[in-house]
Point group: C3
Chain length 471, copies 3
């Protein structure tokens, strides 16, 4: 069989109807060149601080990307085949892993993984061949050759991608040294901001919690022996993050309840937890209270608060035990916001300057809870469809579900939330194309005039994320 | 910048595909002129009874419409800016409020609020300008001038809108004097029917409950000291409503459980509640029992029973405390019908003549519960998509989710459920357009012949609401 | 009025957009003639074993089809009108029942029942008239005349339909004599396989349970006095099913929890249940444990495990008491898989050769749980949309919700799950048409190349069901 070519079509992802497509194409053209704003993600700041070349195609594109490896695992391959948990691979194994992906290319049909990957290959690496057993080595060689050159070093790619701001996700005790290096580097003109992610410090039943809280004391220079000190230490670290450019905090717990505790209750549970004697129920109560406390602190220090709930982490324990977290075995669960966030919103929902961006993996919330909440509370923004929902059809459903009650202004703009650096342009462009198609549909149905449609697209790409994340 | 014009397109809201649109246009043309049947809503009967001119554009179109004000609030404006909670506004403040809306017109992009509002302006008031800061005063003037003329008095508009029947929503103790005035007025040929809405009388834990039940005794002339008297008083008031033309009752509680209590249990809880000593759990149990009792009464007196559950009222208490209810701070919650309604349906679900119309704000129920229930129980009708779901994309989802298991015959027909009188024609027309598009899609995919499609559209517009609501 | 004709359009169910339709038509053409693989359904094996002619049009097409009768019931007709619960009908009553359906033909507009029924009439029976009061007798006569001929006997239809394999659903104590007859009949070249459906044996609180477990002992020749014997008896019956060609087991319980019990706990609850002294909670715990045990047995004997949860059976008890089960009064409920299946998947989810096919009536699970689970666990397949969701719009939603996280490879292929034998070709063809349309949409939006689209369609029709069900 002849090799299949790879040529991303200029009209890809635009609606099939010729009339709507023509409008969508005009709208997309108008925003295709705008900068990328990435206010939430997982690319390490160290990559840009040190600017060392990427190791090899597999280590860059495959091993760390659980979107890729989980689906291959689902069709029968071991995660280790793709380098997961294997440490640095030698050239032969790296190449074999890359080939193993290309051979199974059909598995990705219909998924955004396929779309992102092919667009990276074509647009960034100039590859013109569709991945397959017969083309794997040539593609590997082309990518490897490119990675050895100056234009493919992290900072050069950051420039080329047109990134205006890139957020990382960081432990409260992180020294943010990579961020500081970048800030102080006169040759660097980009913007990489940390994000305060305190989950583990809020879950007093975790076996690591006491050590974490000890470390928090050490790093913050604030005693965490009692509840007041613990709160002060968190506040100190938030201030440290703000000094280093942070604009937001992120929170990912099982539920989104935010019931406050009476001060003496919070003190009692905290003290018991410090003695290692906390009940599961008390630890949960304390965490819900602390999430509300994070909102209070946001009112004080201005950090935007984002929630990424509704996922059972490490669903398959044997995989977690062998490979650790973030390897594709997290599975969503249902969640609810209306009652859960009510205590928080009653206290802080109309506080001037407070921003709360709500993400979910439970689509039922879009029209039932998130749209209505964002359509009333000035603080609430509907977060972009995330993770399993960051895909063409899901984004369309999101817009159709949220827009009618919250409009466009109360949506966060696109969030890539990725650790796959080279996929960032493809992900943002996918979002722009799908949004262009949705808005073009409104124009075609005479629900919006075309002059306004241009403004909407521009807002979604740059104005909304700048506003929601105070950039 | 030049002012933008406002010209609703004749094909607005019809599907973009030219072939489907042509069919949809024919279907819409066939029903566009049919009368408006509005079997559930919130327009005060007093307006039509007294027929006094509307005060001013803001008082008519903005202040009472929480769809408009909630979204402006969400983008940072105080509700008071738009006259909410401010009492009658003088001309300067009314004009300023109107301008404040026009200036923020972009907030409504993609929402039905925008659609309804623009269609009112164009079709009812002949306004040809898109709202904006620059056009606000001219639009205000045009609307104000119109409102001062005879053709814009309530009865004239009722005629002009082609309303066949309009339902109000009323407290069981209401004397229905406005309805009586209309009924006895030989110069009035319309039909305005009350709706029996007893929620507060069924919730024994409300602080107002004992006073309400006292008033019920007074108004009904029936002692409400014991449970039997209470039930008799409710029956008496239902009979009074029937005499005044009522065709339905409406119920909006947190859940839809309908578990019956043993008579002595109902008596025990009622008696405790009358002493002010009811537990929250008992009050809930009594309410669930009473909702089932309402179904029993419907079997006796023929009133159609409608349920509007799944909403947390007054979610933001500070707003409620300042502005009262119905100002846009109600937020939906998940709800379930299959188990909750089972006791009621096992008793009354096949009773001849019993009708139960199920609304929801939780879309997940459409294909999972409401379609299957309406597709088996002769009494059950799938209520139209309501409130946050009364919008183009949501109505399409509703039809796609309900039709395959319940067909068209078991859907209620459109319900506007509005207090925004002038939006009624635009709301009904929106529904007709979206339904025309959905049915045209079936024709285009050869799932329905076009001769039948005309019948379906006609049924949805007039036959179904007449049948579901016994009009 | 002239009689309306019935002529299924060659492009029926394909997308309306001309460009997408042209692609979809090519894709459908490529798979329209492929064999039918039906790995889960309810057609009695006896029909094919005995090959006796079908009795009459009503007994074949109407009375046993709860999709047809439930919707007629919902619009006011008694189930008995259509022969439900009436035993064999004489010719006059059979004809009257058939006419009663045709008279109410409009009730089915927009439903798949209409589509299946009309396609059966046209394609199998050569009827060219749309059902209506005026055409009912002629259609009845045409169908009755056909049924009296050789080409309409069950085996001839099986051949004509192009069925490659047909699964039945059977009680563990069934002697599978019809399957044995077919297996041993040299004149029969089809493949009819039993399915092991042990629900009632796993629910120890059912009043029939002790008798069932006694019968299990008798049939298996294994004592079921203690828990170990009970398990051994189930294993023996599974082995018997395997000998008779079974490829799968099926399980339909209220929830899908699979928490294991300690051996002594399982023994304790089983023993109490055998004494008739089990609590509802203990019976539920035992059932959850036993469902996980079924997965363990599947790892041993290779039977594919399928789950069909999320339905409240016999919702309307008066109907159940008069007519029995499976007459259309089952109503779906919400269900969850992420936490419920976690114990089972942690034990067996990556076992080589274990297959678990997940069906649901709760669409919210598709993107939230089923897609992500099938996109990680090699054992998990996303079952086709089932029952109320086996319909054009619902199948489209399923593909849009599942494909982006699980691709195509981890979906089961179409499952007809029907007892309406003559509807099988129409049901499979409907699925092929809708899938062709979905995949054509991907091609039109340049998300998939057309050469791959042919492979995808072919996989969905034959490769996937063969693989998921080990055929």
């Amino acid at each position: 069989m002849e090799d299949q070519t790879l040529e991303p079509h200029p009209d890809r992802l635009l609606p099939a109807d010729p009339g709507v497509r023509a409008i969508a194409r005009r709208l997309h053209d108008a925003v295709a060149g705008l900068p990328i704003i990435s206010p939430h993600g997982h690319v390490p700041a160290r990559w840009l601080a040190d600017d060392v070349p990427f190791a090899d195609p597999t280590a860059l594109l495959i091993t760390p990307d659980h979107y890729v490896t989980r689906l291959l695992h689902a069709t029968g391959a071991e995660l280790s085949t793709f380098g997961v948990g294997e440490g640095p691979l030698d050239e032969a194994r790296s190449r074999a892993a890359f080939r193993a992906v290309c051979e199974r290319w059909g598995v990705f049909r219909g998924t955004p993984v396929r779309y992102w990957f092919e667009n990276q290959l074509a647009d960034i690496f100039g590859v013109g061949l569709r991945p397959a057993a017969a083309t794997a080595d040539r593609i590997y060689d082309a990518v490897a050759a490119a990675l050895a050159t100056e234009p493919f070093r992290p900072r050069a790619l950051y420039e080329r991608f047109g990134i205006e701001v890139l957020a990382t996700t960081d432990d409260p005790c992180d020294d943010l040294s990579a961020h500081a290096l970048l800030r102080d580097d006169p040759t660097w003109s980009g913007r990489v901001v940390p994000t305060f992610r305190p989950d583990r410090y809020l879950e007093a039943a975790l076996p690591t919690w006491n050590d974490d809280v000890d470390r928090l004391a050490e790093v913050s220079g604030t005693e965490t022996g009692d509840y007041a000190g613990f709160v002060a230490a968190l506040e100190a670290r938030r201030a440290f993050f703000v000094e280093h450019g942070a604009v937001s905090t992120d929170h990912a717990h099982t539920d989104t309840r935010t019931d406050p505790l009476e001060p003496h209750e919070a003190e009692r549970v905290f003290t018991a937890a410090r003695r290692g004697e906390v009940s599961a129920a008390d630890a949960t109560a304390l965490r819900r209270h602390l999430v509300a406390e994070m909102a209070r602190m946001s009112c004080d220090d201005g950090l935007v608060m984002t929630l990424h709930p509704a996922v059972r982490r490490n669903h398959h324990l044997p995989t977690y035990e062998r490979y650790g977290p973030d390897v594709g075995t997290d599975i969503p669960v249902a969640v609810e916001h209306t009652d859960g966030l009510r205590p928080l919103l009653n206290r802080y929902g109309t506080h001037p300057g407070f921003h709360l961006v709500l993400f979910t993996l439970d689509e039922t919330q879009f029209s039932r809870e998130i749209g209505p909440l964002a359509g009333f509370y000035p603080s609430v923004y509907a977060g972009a469809p995330w993770w399993f929902l960051d895909a063409p059809d899901a984004i369309r459903r999101y817009r159709a579900a949220v827009t009618e009650s919250a409009g466009f202004a109360k949506t966060s703009g696109f969030i890539d939330d990725t650790r796959a650096f080279c996929s960032i342009p493809a992900r943002h462009d996918l979002s722009r194309r799908i949004d262009a198609g949705y808005v073009a549909g409104l124009v075609a149905e005479h629900r919006l005039d075309e002059d306004e449609a241009y403004e909407v697209l521009h807002d979604l790409v740059v104005t909304n994320p700048r506003k929601a994340f105070k950039l």
